[in-house]
């Protein structure tokens, strides 16, 4: 049967519709539903679970930073735990020594980590692959040493004890739920900023550099500039996550920021989907919940269970959860609206 080859000018006002609503209207509805769920959830759960979810969101922001650098820009980093620590200590020192209110510590933490990331990214331009991994491992290992050494600022071994913030009285909610919403707002902001950047010119430049640096350079993309920007924005995200973690936990010490943390971020990234944004949330959930589950399963060798979980996930979904499921959802969507696709194809 011959295809319909009538030459009609495409209806410029024909918009994809499904069940009477525009596709982007459906997207808005979906987003609103998620928002409503996220906002109501803390009131349905106990304080402890709210605290856990807050930690999931914080780790999600940190993993998102790593996704930008390693997933979208192809520069591997095993040192993001160090930047997380820098953000945490920036917030802690500002609050503890200078009495800065907690919400005002986030911009300085972001700024400090951004600058540090740029400074780190510049020499990192010379390194690729395993060498870059080594350089970033050096960052992860050096950070606790610096933190212990400059103990007049950082409190050294003893760490810094922080006063937990109080929610505004007029809201009438308790501290755990207030901090949940603070983290939620930060996460949404982080996703928005990341999405804007990654779906635009900068993001395309990142991906081009990752996939084919020589072609990218030939097309006029300034490799040095974009790679450094990738580093800086990545560490900025992770630094903000670190600042939030200092506020939520109320305590920072060098032991909180070992190489294990950096490796956890990388694992979370890979499990969620390294070159995705929503994968960061899955990664954050993995980092937060799976070690506890492993502990429940086996008292004797909990990390063995954690390791096995990592292995099984990588076998089943080598591109990460969102990286594997995402394309399926895309196919599902196209299956559900063939007419819309046909219209957009003309």
């Amino acid at each position: 049967m011959a295809q319909d080859l009538t030459i009609t000018s495409p209806d410029r006002f024909a918009v994809d519709r499904y069940a009477g609503l525009r596709i982007d209207a459906w997207r808005w509805l979906g987003a609103l539903a998620l928002m409503a769920l996220a906002s109501l959830l803390p009131f349905a759960l106990s304080n402890y679970h709210v605290f856990e979810l807050t930690m999931v969101m914080i780790y999600a922001i940190a993993v998102l930073g790593l996704n930008i650098l390693t997933g979208y820009n192809g520069q591997i980093s095993l040192g993001h735990g160090g930047f997380f620590a820098v953000g945490a200590y920036t917030a802690a020192i500002l609050m503890h020594r200078y009495g800065v209110p907690y919400w005002a510590t986030l911009p300085p933490a972001a700024f400090v980590c951004f600058v540090l990331g740029i400074l780190f990214g510049l020499p990192a331009l010379r390194f690729e692959g395993h060498y870059l991994a080594l350089v970033t491992i050096a960052m992860a290992l050096a950070t606790p040493q610096f933190l212990k050494y400059f103990d007049t600022w950082t409190g050294g071994q003893q760490g810094i004890n922080l006063v937990k913030p109080s929610p505004p009285a007029w809201l009438g909610i308790d501290r755990d739920r207030w901090l949940y919403f603070v983290a939620l707002v930060c996460l949404l902001l982080a996703i928005r900023v990341a999405a804007n950047m990654l779906h635009g010119r900068t993001g395309r430049a990142f991906v081009a550099i990752r996939d084919h640096p020589i072609a990218a350079a030939a097309m006029g993309i300034n490799l040095a500039r974009y790679k450094t920007i990738a580093f800086g924005t990545s560490t900025m995200f992770t630094g903000v996550a670190g600042a939030l973690s200092a506020i939520i936990i109320g305590f920072v010490a060098p032991e909180s920021f070992t190489l294990v943390l950096s490796i956890s971020f990388l694992v979370g990234s890979a499990v969620g989907g390294i070159a995705t944004i929503s994968g960061a949330i899955v990664g954050g959930a993995f980092i937060e919940f799976v070690p506890n589950l492993a502990n429940d399963i086996s008292d004797a060798a909990p990390w063995a269970i954690y390791g096995v979980a990592m292995l099984l996930l990588m076998y089943a979904m080598p591109l990460g959860v969102v990286g594997t499921i995402g394309p399926w959802l895309g196919r599902l969507r196209r299956y559900l609206q063939p007419a819309a696709d046909a219209a957009s194809r003309r």
Partner: protein
């Protein structure tokens, strides 16, 4: 002056520890193009196997050979069963798998063998030489490492199996077309690396004492040494490992307070890598467009 020599000599001794593990890392990299984050834990586990045999009354050298054979077999199995499924997956997936393997080995070793420090017998007597500058045992470690290096170098350079392995790692498709059983080469590579790791562990355990966390710190230094020397070069791995050991000692003694020793040592190595991004003996990978 005497102290300087002592620092250098203990640096060489600990550097030989790094070098021996670095050789195993290079082996895996050359045969499968992967960095194996579980190398240290595999070596530690092999050492525990040897320890169990020795404690059961098996004579040292017999235990040594049995452990090598077991580790070789173990390496084959690990590559086939655990690494092969992610061979075609993105590199990050393989990295995560080796990290998972690291956790599993460490945790299981702690569970089976507990965390109490154990003694491990050394084949070399422990006598001081050169006026207490170095002991025969340290010399033994250095000697065995150099021997492994020579054997490995000869293997890759002069044997057809070594050539086949390099081909399989660099270009699996072309290698297959030439009739090289790529899958078997990969397994063989891992088996060899596991055996080298076992030797490293057995050499090192008398010095570092045996516990499940014995190789944790060593892996990072071995990785540094391997990269410094060039991840594709066994000679580089050994030289790199020795340099890392000596640098760390000298830096910690003469340059800065010991609390920042690790940081500064790593910093120096990174500076070297800035000047020679492929390591001292590594070959640059030329990418064809």
């Amino acid at each position: 002056m005497h102290e300087l020599l002592e620092q250098i000599s203990s640096g060489l001794a600990v550097g030989a520890v790094y070098a021996s593990l670095a050789l195993a890392l290079v082996m895996i990299y050359r045969s499968t193009d992967l960095i194996n984050f579980a190398q240290g834990e595999m070596a530690m586990f092999s050492t525990y196997i040897a320890w169990t045999l020795v404690n059961a009354g098996v004579p040292f050298w017999a235990a040594f050979v049995i452990t090598l054979a077991t580790s070789f077999a173990g390496g084959l199995v690990i590559e086939r069963v655990i690494i092969r499924p992610v061979e075609t997956a993105p590199v990050l997936a393989a990295v995560v798998v080796t990290i998972g393997l690291n956790l599993i080995f460490n945790s299981v070793a702690g569970w089976i063998f507990t965390y109490t420090l154990q003694e491990f017998p050394s084949p070399f007597p422990d006598r001081p030489l050169l006026g207490a500058l170095i002991t025969t045992r340290d010399l033994g470690v250095i000697g065995v490492t150099l021997l492994m290096l020579v054997l490995l170098f000869a293997f890759f350079r002069f044997t057809s199996a070594g050539l086949a392995m390099r081909a399989a790692a660099q270009n699996p498709q072309s290698a297959r077309l030439c009739g090289i059983p790529v899958g078997r080469m990969l397994m063989f590579g891992w088996g060899l690396a596991a055996a080298i790791g076992a030797v490293a562990g057995i050499m090192v355990a008398p010095v570092l004492f045996l516990d499940p966390n014995m190789m944790g710190g060593v892996l990072i230094y071995a990785f540094t040494g391997a990269l410094l020397g060039g991840i594709t070069s066994p000679v580089g791995a050994v030289v790199g490992g020795l340099i890392v050991g000596v640098t760390e000692n000298l830096v910690g003694t003469y340059l800065i307070p010991s609390q920042l020793k690790l940081t500064v040592a790593l910093g120096l190595i990174i500076v070297v890598l800035l000047l020679r991004p492929n390591g001292l003996f590594g070959t640059a990978v030329i990418q064809r467009v």
